[in-house]
Symmetry: C2
Subunit: 470 residues, 2 copies
């Protein structure tokens, strides 16, 4: 079913030798059982499962150096693995090799509250980290849908609902420790908040999806837990009205922390799932962070903007329980979608366009969904121009799969034609490689290839992902 | 006087041929007069002037492609030139070659107010851009001391007083058009606010100081002009108290827009220069952006924090004229320093440390200044942990120059020992190359070299800067 070209597996004898050498070093921290290997390939989307030949659980940067050095000798692929929640086949092993699972490297190494930063191992998840930080009055704001590992989040340059205020992983990683294909450990930057000292290696690695090296330590920028949070929901007559209200909110400088769109079908899904009884019309879900006075002011100002575009009433509150109740529809959006079509599998999408084109892009896409007879609710991080459709597809119906894939391609083409990107936050992996040339043009692709070849000449770092080496 | 090793000039015959070919194409837009060439080498710091062999004034990306292609054939260096305000010898031509002056490429190509972005040519300065944008309710926040060109600001990854709130050039460049050493035009990204589509070429070029390619177009992120601005000044008993108040301000989440330190000597300089009669004690200069209510709340909260650390009174206002009067000392800081020692020349410094180490770093540095018998007032972007000393040196006294250089090296070592950087915002150029290994370590330096060699194999792009090729 997968349509990516499957490159040849590496030499089986070399793989065998590397695994033998690694078994001698790692003992039962290296696993080759079929079940474990299959869990370490892609499991949650349409992309077929391509399991690695072995899974290793390192406990230190030195362990990772050992793994990389051994694999380098035998030219065996290395596929970093966090929580396996990535959506574009990033953890598959199309050419075989070893999956490096960071389950045991999940410690917080230091918290510098005065500097608003912390140093962590890559295996810790975002929820675990925030649990750990809570007592210290700080938090890490990036929140993809899944409880992903921080290493994986850096590798895919991910973001989430808070990005409109707090930025993406590119803005919140201060420095990285990376085991390079040579086995050497590169430190990308110091802990200073800013620097002009040379090429920006931090941001070269953030978003490189394990194709240049393996992240073994992250220094993250933290934010103070806001003194007050207000949250609320606001119905609108149309998706266009939602987008226009979002544009106006940002343009007038309201420092909105979250501004999320649910289309009418997505609202219907959460009604079915959580029996909420919301009116099935497009809605914005908002959150404001600040002092008590400032979140009240922000909320009131947004209410006025909503009215201008025919929306409202804007119900909002600063009470935590009440806020959670209002936001319940948004929180259950991901789980609720399958109620629209039990038994289906999902094809995720992730385009992002300049916000001025968002209404047009969503509206055209909704028309296309209807004309294609597909079931696909929409959730959007509208402050960033990023939206996701969950295409619910019967994978046993090849004709429907074909229609859904063709629809996906039109969606990407539509976004590119509007100066947008094929992926706002999920990454390229295997699923989006074919769009890179159309998105960036040949000179940019040539530069990416040159960088990949310069840093990983034997292509052992997560091969078959991100850069089409041609 | 310069201590950098001066690499050999390129083959004079090749340079001659390239200039002949370029003269045929560019006519009187290519200049070889000595005066113009010398203006295009480093002129404002201790680093010696190394003029190019010719200066060319392109008018389009195609012109730059012509220049690069011609120079590539003859392996002749290309040195991009904006306003010539960089502080580390970035515009020098140590190996000869042509300076590409963007004087004539200074247009605003598009403003997308709804998307809060604009597309510009690299030669426009930050003040010219903001003048152009003012009517549209938006502005570009990055403000280095000089009225630099935006191309140069991107190339050096610069920042300024607003960085604590608005970030640096890395956060405010959305996309770039870059003429690569091959002569091809690379576009680094689309206009979408975020993307996970491949290596972050935008941030690879931002801060690369012209060593990977020549920027010919920038898409910049803009901000809404705040509805209200409050500004004020606050004296403190010590530099340490200033730093502690700054830490607390940021930690409590007050979204301060500017928070600038002047040490007692710098205050004395502005008193001498502007006859202000301020008490000669360390001071913080602050600015808050938001609504009328929110800037008042922020200002009051800061006043309380200042009191906790023995500072105050905090005088602030939202009236523009009054604000300008209060900030006059900060605005005249750069010009005022020479009043402390007329006839001297400056050695700029630019370390940045984690904010928790800032007080210690500044205090130790002040002791070192005193012990070295140097004159060096301090200005600090304390919200970022970044501070500048202006070392006022009599260049005709070799002994004093030596003392000043030795002091500079100790300052960098001190910052590095505190997990800081040798340059927070000025860049590497020629002056800081020797610190890169100590700051980043060999594996990072190897990665920088590999990237440079992969993208510019003949080393024609601003050679002798940033990466020591070894």
């Amino acid at each position: 079913m997968a349509e990516q070209t499957v490159p040849a597996r590496r030499d089986p004898k070399s793989i065998e030798k590397a695994i033998a050498a690694l078994t001698a070093k790692f003992g039962n921290r290296l696993v080759t059982s079929r079940a474990v290997r299959e869990q370490h390939g892609n499991t949650i989307t349409w992309i077929e499962n391509q399991p690695p030949d072995a899974v290793i659980y390192p406990q230190s940067t030195e362990d990772v150096q050992e793994i990389v050095r051994t694999c380098a000798v035998h030219r065996v692929p290395i596929v970093p693995f966090g929580q396996g929640t990535s959506l574009e086949g990033h953890v598959n092993a199309p050419q075989g090799g070893v999956s490096v699972d960071f389950r045991d490297m999940n410690k917080v190494l230091a918290v510098h509250a005065e500097d608003l930063d912390c140093v962590i191992e890559p295996g810790i998840t975002r929820k675990q980290l925030n649990e750990y930080l809570r007592d210290q009055g700080v938090f890490f704001p990036i929140d993809p849908g899944a409880d992903a590992s921080l290493g994986g989040m850096a590798a895919t340059r991910c973001s989430g609902t808070n990005a409109v205020r707090y930025g993406t992983m590119k803005d919140n990683v201060l420095a990285l420790k990376v085991v390079m294909p040579s086995g050497e450990v590169m430190t990308t930057a110091r802990r200073a908040k800013k620097s002009s000292a040379g090429y920006d290696l931090t941001r070269l690695i953030v978003g490189s999806e394990g194709t240049l090296g393996v992240i073994t330590e992250l220094t993250l920028r933290l934010s103070g837990i806001p003194e007050a949070i207000s949250g609320g929901i606001c119905p609108f007559p149309s998706v266009e009205a939602c987008c226009n209200a979002a544009i106006m909110t940002i343009q007038t400088g309201i420092p909105v922390a979250r501004i999320e769109l649910l289309d009418a079908l997505q609202v219907r899904a959460v009604n079915l799932y959580s029996r909420l009884g919301l009116s099935e019309t497009p809605m914005l879900f908002l959150e404001f962070h600040g002092t008590q006075a400032s979140v009240a002011e922000q909320s009131e100002r947004f209410g006025e903007i909503a009215k201008e575009f025919g929306g409202g009433p804007f119900q909002w509150t600063t009470q935590p329980e009440e806020r959670t109740r209002l936001w319940e529809a948004r929180h259950s959006a991901a789980l609720s979608t399958f109620t629209l079509r039990p038994g289906s599998k999902m094809i995720p999408t992730d385009v992002c366009v300049p916000i001025s084109r968002l209404a047009e892009c969503v509206t055209e896409t909704q028309r296309d969904i209807a004309e294609s007879n597909l079931v696909a609710p929409i959730v959007g991080h509208v402050g960033d121009g990023n939206f996701h459709l969950t295409l619910l597809v019967d994978m046993d119906d090849p004709a429907e799969f074909k229609v859904a894939k063709a629809f996906s391609e039109r969606l990407v083409e539509r976004a590119l034609a509007m100066d947008g990107t094929c992926t706002g936050e999920h990454g390229v992996g295997q699923g989006k490689m074919k769009y890179l040339e159309a998105e960036h043009g040949l000179p940019a692709l040539a530069a990416m290839r040159a960088v990949k070849r310069a840093l990983d000449p034997d292509d052992i770092m997560n091969p078959g992902k991100l850069v089409p080496l041609g």
